[in-house]
Symmetry: C2
Subunit: 468 residues, 2 copies
């Protein structure tokens, strides 16, 4: 009995057209990453489970794919004792399981699985830097484009395997890095022909400052989580949520200006500075933003707009300085297509202290969808060869293969239809593949060429063929 083939939930095949378009985007990124001095690295798809677990919070731990120890395991000489109550545990549902039981389950999982699939590129990068610190020239500028895996609930456009495309620098606190990373976003999107993206910039120190000014430093996370929703739930909604989280009404009055900031980047910054004039950390954040904003303005962006967005929080616990997010051009229904920020102690978890890092990420799948929607993929992207030579039988095929071989050695793509099938079938194949030119016959070094787009038939010399 043949198996009916299928794919695991949340995974997908990529067709030739999709691969070609994705490679186009990644090649543009790669070119600019390298132009900006970032170097490629690659890390293994799976890491020791201990490297990943506990780095992404409880929710992250649950979403990490674990790999079963290979066959040998069960036959290992180190005898494994299963917890007595395991079988009972396995028959319980999530709702009825106790914390102790959960710990026991996790302990069991750890026994049968000591490896896990990469969940992002940042933790493996931190591990890489620590393991290779003696070989690396710091500051180390690296880019990495590899798949990651998450056991998220699959949704439309969200997959359990997807690529991350990251550029990070570690080993310097210089704000020139932030300036350059904003330029890098601009360069990539400019090259992709995607005009009108907005680079939203904020700073974690500004968020700390605001919380300090309103006397809610202990509620920094609640405060920023609520503020982050301004786009979605509006001013009233944000205030309601803050009140519900126990931030006093009097405190909210103090930050009223936050909701009415207006004008250019530097005008907004002046308003922010006034608001934060009593907070040392807040003013440090303003100063950083001012340097970055001024330098980006002097150097100029090719198409993107830099915007100060004090509501931007992203992975707050993670970032310590700049926070950036890229919004797709207005009119395109799409969340952020990139984001990043500065984190002061990335490698500390692996024992290397005081190494500051800053980095950005490009959302490949979303950029793909935006380019598709705006019809921005170059028309020259093609998965079919330039020429298909019809197969009219043994002798004709021999002559065709001589021409095909010569074309290929000139770097021109060409193929022979492999069987001497009827013309109709061969033309249908050419059309389905999207081949531009079909060579119908070769007689005395004259090539009869049909242009499938126009229907036109030409009689070409070899030189004319090469020039098509």
């Amino acid at each position: 009995m043949a198996q009916k083939p299928g794919l695991p939930t949340g995974t997908r095949d990529l067709s030739s057209h999709e691969v070609t378009k994705r490679n186009y985007i990644m090649n543009v990124m790669r070119r600019h990453f390298e132009c900006f001095g970032y170097q490629p690295i690659e890390t293994p798809s799976f890491e020791n489970a201990s490297t990943l677990m506990g780095k992404y919070g409880d929710e992250g731990d649950r979403l990490i794919f674990k790999i079963l120890n290979s066959g040998n395991y069960f036959y290992d000489k180190n005898r494994i004792q299963l917890p007595d109550s395991l079988e009972a545990l396995l028959t319980h549902s999530a709702e009825t399981i106790s914390l102790e039981q959960r710990v026991e389950l996790n302990r069991f999982t750890a026994k049968i699985s000591d490896k896990a699939l990469r969940y992002d590129l940042t933790v493996p990068f931190a591990r890489y830097v620590v393991m290779h610190q003696n070989e690396l020239a710091l500051p180390f500028k690296r880019y990495q484009m590899q798949p990651v895996w998450r056991a998220d609930k699959p949704q439309k456009g969200r997959f359990r395997e997807f690529y991350q495309c990251d550029a990070d620098v570690v080993g310097s606190t210089s704000l020139w890095q932030e300036v350059e990373l904003l330029q890098l976003y601009d360069a990539v999107f400019h090259d992709l022909g995607l005009h009108g993206v907005t680079l939203k910039l904020n700073n974690r120190k500004v968020l700390s400052g605001i919380a300090e000014v309103i006397g809610a430093s202990d509620k920094l996370i609640d405060f920023t989580v609520a503020l982050d929703k301004l786009d979605k739930i509006g001013e009233a909604g944000v205030k309601d949520e803050m009140l519900a989280k126990g931030i006093p009404a009097a405190a909210l009055e103090k930050v009223q200006p936050l909701f009415s900031f207006s004008g250019s980047f530097s005008q907004k910054l002046t308003q922010l500075e006034t608001l934060l004039h009593t907070s040392e950390i807040g003013l440090k954040g303003v100063e950083e933003l001012r340097f970055i904003g001024a330098q980006v303005e002097k150097l100029g962006l090719q198409q993107a707009t830099l915007e100060l967005d004090v509501t931007l929080a992203r992975g707050l616990n993670y970032y310590t300085g700049a926070i950036v997010e890229v919004a797709a051009p207005k009119g395109v229904q799409m969340g952020s297509i990139g984001g990043g920020g500065r984190y002061d102690d990335l490698t500390g978890i692996f024992g290397l202290k005081n190494v500051s890092g800053v980095g950005i990420s490009f959302g490949l799948d979303r950029i793909y969808l935006v380019l598709e929607e705006l019809n921005l993929f170059p028309e020259t992207l093609r998965t079919a060869p330039q020429f298909l030579f019809l197969n009219l039988g043994y002798n004709e095929a021999e002559v065709a293969m001589q021409a095909i071989t010569a074309l290929r050695r000139q770097g021109i793509s060409a193929e022979l239809y492999p069987d001497a099938a009827n013309w109709d079938k061969q033309f249908k194949y050419a059309e389905k593949r999207g081949v531009p030119f079909v060579i119908r016959s070769i007689e005395q070094e004259v090539y009869s060429v049909k242009n499938l787009a126009t229907g036109e038939v030409l009689a070409c010399s070899w030189e004319q063929l090469m020039a098509l």
Copy 2:
């Protein structure tokens, strides 16, 4: 307590130099794959375990990495009963475990794991063809370059994660495909500058024919396994092994000519034809070899040599026609750097009958090692930017960033040292990175450039800088 970071057994990090060299090889392959009309596809890293299990033999099943069902699993409403004897089983070693117990273990594994990491690219390709048969134009020529995972015992130069680079055609039995795939090997190795590779060609039908002639069709596998070792154990060794496997001495006499084939491809073929004159299937194999050999000769190879090797067997159970293997240039200690063949019923396992396929694979890691050994990587491969601008302080950095931005917009790679550190430190960084040119200062639009290779210092105008 910080964790000491490490990597799972059999995995590796790839440095910038390694990634750059690997990308160089893969780009050469990609260019020729596409020039020959092959289209890229990508399949998910993990498949349903049922798609992979049972396709690679018992040994293969054992080497497939299985993924633990995600966290949710244990909390699933479908209650899982563990086999009563599981705990006892887990305390047994491989030697004492019975077949029934093994089946029970496998059943347990299947309950906690329904996904597995890709083991090769061929089975996923077969699944792809069957699932997408209505969208594809047959014959379908695809290439695929993605990692695969095997729980092999790690050895020097053998990893548990490695790339496969495959080109296959399905949907045609035309021998022009074999001809073209041999040309493809030649084109890629020629472009890589790797001269002197040998393309060894055989045909499964010839092997069947030989077994038939000596009256040992029932011992075809033993026979070919022994013959395959001629290189290693010599004529006497092969004969001893055949005798030990129960192939009669009289039969061996009949194939004596096998051991003394000599001359060109077509001369060897004539000797083979004589030997096989009573075997219909053997003569069919000879005929196929003759067509392929003659066409390859007429079209010409750029650097490779085609050789008839009747001892070549490879994955015998798999192949049904041509069998090919690529030997590195003489003098390089390296096993085969590529291989492939024709398989007549690849997609049958997934319910699509009568689709013949033929394909080849490139051994990326081995090709890398060969190019490294022969010093064949282009000197222009570099992971460092063309220019490093020293950072002499805020004002100088501002001027430098103007120049850097302009260079990058011309596609020229450049970077600023991010901090105003002392010269020595900055020069050391430039040297460690392998930057060719350091810009020491910019005064009145004159760039003071140090060539790190020669030590020479130049005073350049903008135009001279761009032309370096």
